[in-house]
């Protein structure tokens, strides 16, 4: 599709997607999106030329130019302009730009936006010359919409359990738990024998709480979307059991049902709440609060398993936008950023975890033993459902989780409500 100076149908569809702006509440559905996508054209040989605009968010956007120096050296005829976009508002900026046909050539794409952007016809399918077999399976699934791969995973993160090793020893536990009951036991031991106010910090609903609840459902063999991504499947015995397990932490007085915001690090360091579930960025956060030597007082372990150990896989992807004037150079840039050595370099610049398994073999990544736990978790971590409407559905789900944790709503009832609300929203297919 070429860029048209007038409002095209795509632009009108984009208007619908800008519903987050409160513009319109139409659904961003595209009738042409139903069939299989056409295979991507190959990329031309030779060095990249011409100019490229690249959008990247926050710290990534600010550090990216440094990483691109080697690409520009190898391709002297290419000029790249990197626009850093604030994380908070990036989604608004992208949907507006897609609507107006001013999307960049290459951009960092949030992992929960993939299906939505694909349904807007905004992203190009990935050419076959870019190998995808070395990516973590969960990450690759996150860029796959209806069996077609769009873009590549750029960096990943996953959630593991942080715990205070010194206090666990005090409570008589030396081995990290591996199953659901073990996690409860450790949390209770903290409360009973190590003077902790609460055994674990969990989010009692509210924005993003699904990121902890959904992995528990996966762990129990549950799913919230069917294989084809066409139907929601919130109501199942496995999901109900997982939500009831989550609820039990609050009803049994193990987790605080009304925690203050932003005190996780403090409570962890003071020992008031010696356990929480979060991503790799919390390592530097707790060590900053805990001061020197604190790194030896805590450890991480993979999510406890019911059937499997499952976690949330986040991070960001790289996408090439439809209508790019410089397609070959755009894909060459993506290809460059997908080389293991470049990913290792990026890890050094940004501490973002590499999405390529091969990059983890480098010593700078594998030397930290806590990263090993993340590495293990990444093998089984799953990306959020690749459904265009997922963000909307997730916010409904969050609200129900809150009812379950704070107001004793029966898990089955919460799931039934979520299911009917999700069906009302639809999957956008």
């Amino acid at each position: 599709m070429t860029r048209s100076p007038h409002i095209t149908r795509r632009a009108l569809v984009g208007l619908g997607a800008a519903g987050t702006l409160g513009v319109l509440t139409a659904c961003g559905r595209d009738e042409s999106g139903g069939g299989p996508a056409e295979p991507a054209e190959p990329i031309a040989e030779g060095p990249a030329t011409g100019s490229l605009t690249v959008w990247a968010m926050g710290a990534e956007g600010e550090k990216l130019p440094e990483l691109l120096a080697s690409f520009e050296e190898a391709n002297p005829d290419v000029s790249i302009e990197v626009t850093p976009v604030p994380w908070d508002s990036a989604h608004d900026k992208f949907t507006s730009a897609i609507a107006a046909g001013t999307a960049p050539d290459v951009a960092q794409v949030g992992s929960t936006w993939m299906a939505e952007f694909v349904s807007l016809d905004a992203l190009e399918p990935t050419p076959e010359s870019i190998a995808t077999d070395d990516y973590f399976a969960g990450a690759l699934e996150g860029v796959t919409v209806e069996d077609t791969v769009y873009g590549v995973p750029w960096y990943v993160e996953t959630r593991v359990v942080y715990y205070r090793t010194d206090l666990a020893e005090q409570a008589g536990i030396t081995e990290p738990p591996t199953d659901w009951d073990g996690l409860v036991a450790l949390a209770q031991a903290y409360q009973e024998q190590a003077g902790a106010t609460w055994g674990i910090s969990l989010q009692p609903g509210g924005q993003g709480s699904w990121q902890t609840v959904l992995p528990l459902m996966w762990s129990n063999g549950g799913q919230v979307v069917d294989e084809a991504g066409a139907q929601f499947t919130f109501e199942s015995a496995q999901n109900e059991e997982a939500l009831a397990y989550y609820q039990s932490y609050f009803t049994d007085g193990i987790a605080n049902p009304a925690p203050a915001e932003g005190v996780t690090e403090q409570d962890f360091v003071s020992g008031d709440v010696p356990m929480f579930i979060s991503g790799p960025w919390m390592m530097s956060a707790v060590e900053a609060v805990g001061g020197e030597g604190f790194a030896d007082k805590y450890g991480v372990f993979v999510m406890p398993a019911a059937e499997t150990s499952s976690s949330f896989l986040g991070g960001a992807n790289l996408g090439v936008f439809q209508g790019t004037q410089n397609r070959d150079a755009a894909w060459k840039l993506v290809q460059h950023l997908s080389m293991p050595e470049v990913q290792v370099e990026w890890f050094g610049l940004s501490t973002d975890l590499p999405s390529l398994q091969q990059a983890w073999e480098d010593e700078s990544v594998s030397s930290n033993e806590k990263f090993e736990v993340f590495r293990t978790q990444l093998d089984t971590a799953l990306a959020p459902p690749v459904v265009a409407t997922w963000e909307q559905v997730a916010s409904k789900f969050d609200a129900q989780i809150e009812e379950v944790c704070k107001n004793d709503l029966a898990p089955a009832e919460a799931l039934a409500t979520t299911q009917s609300e999700a069906q009302g929203i639809g999957t956008g297919v």
Binding site: H6, G58, E62, A100, T102, P104, D267
Partner: protein, 272 residues
């Protein structure tokens, strides 16, 4: 005795309100010299234990002057445009006779009633088609004459007697001079109100500059601050508060400068 007690009560009530209003403000300023660790501490501290200028230092490591210039240019031009053109428009609607005046005024009112977000994307597409995407004019043009300003000025001019216009005409003053030499000097209090409101609106505008600007060279302060202080998973509160403090400072200066007129203006336009 009542006369004596009343001022005390008034001061007590006013002080309570002042405290409510000023606390978040002081929190912002004090927070800007705290470390991230101290900002997140529970229970929170009021006075910084280890005051540091580190947040400001990190702020100035960025091209802050660039953002500052962008914000200033945009806000000043937008404000000047509204003062001049909206007042001309408002005057015409209030005191001149011409065909279609009522329809024109109804259109202004209609524009005032449509929420800005509804016209957001069409306006953006328009700007892009004009070839203005990612330029400073794109940040200025759509706001140069705002329906609210036109409405405010019309209402104000309605309160100034039409007899002045007639007197001017009898004395042979031209129509343009009547506006500039008779009505405009009388509108100074309204200008102060309009000026500060427009400046504030432009200075704090976030979504439009965010969407229209595609390079750091055209970012305004609020966009730049959002960029540097919030990450994917965490927020740098110290940097955010330091930036907010710096962003508020010029507004305070503008307000102090126009304070007297501003209060008069509120009183004058409020009565109408």
């Amino acid at each position: 005795m009542i006369e004596k007690r009343r001022p005390v009560l008034t001061y007590v009530v006013l002080s309570i309100f002042l405290l409510l209003v000023i606390t978040p403000f002081l929190w912002m300023i004090l927070g800007s010299i705290k470390t991230q660790g101290e900002l997140l501490r529970v229970p929170p501290t009021w006075w910084p234990e280890e005051p540091t200028l580190d947040n400001f230092r990190r702020l100035f490591e960025r091209p802050f002057a660039r953002y500052f210039t962008n914000s200033t240019v945009v806000a000043v031009v937008v404000t000047a445009g509204n003062l001049l053109m909206s007042s001309m428009f408002g005057y015409a609607l209030a005191h001149l006779r011409f065909p279609g005046k009522r329809i024109l005024f109804a259109t202004v009112l209609a524009c005032l009633m449509i929420p800005g977000l509804v016209t957001f994307i069409p306006q953006y597409v328009l700007v892009v088609n004009m070839g203005l995407a990612n330029t400073i004019p794109a940040l200025i043009l759509p706001f140069l004459v705002q329906p609210f300003s036109v409405f405010l000025m019309r209402q104000f001019f309605l309160g100034i007697p039409r007899e002045l216009q007639e007197a001017g005409r009898l004395d042979g003053v031209g129509e343009i001079a009547i506006f500039f030499r008779i009505y405009m000097p009388l509108a100074v209090p309204a200008f102060a109100t309009l000026g500060i409101l427009t400046f504030l609106g432009s200075w704090n505008n976030f979504l439009w500059p965010l969407v229209v600007s595609s390079s750091e060279s055209t970012y305004t302060l609020p966009v730049a601050l959002a960029l540097i202080s919030t990450g994917q998973n965490e927020t740098d509160y110290g940097l955010l508060l330091a930036g907010a403090t710096l962003i508020v400072a010029p507004i305070l200066v503008v307000f102090l400068f126009f304070q007297r007129h501003f209060i008069q203006g509120i009183a004058a336009t409020g009565i109408k």
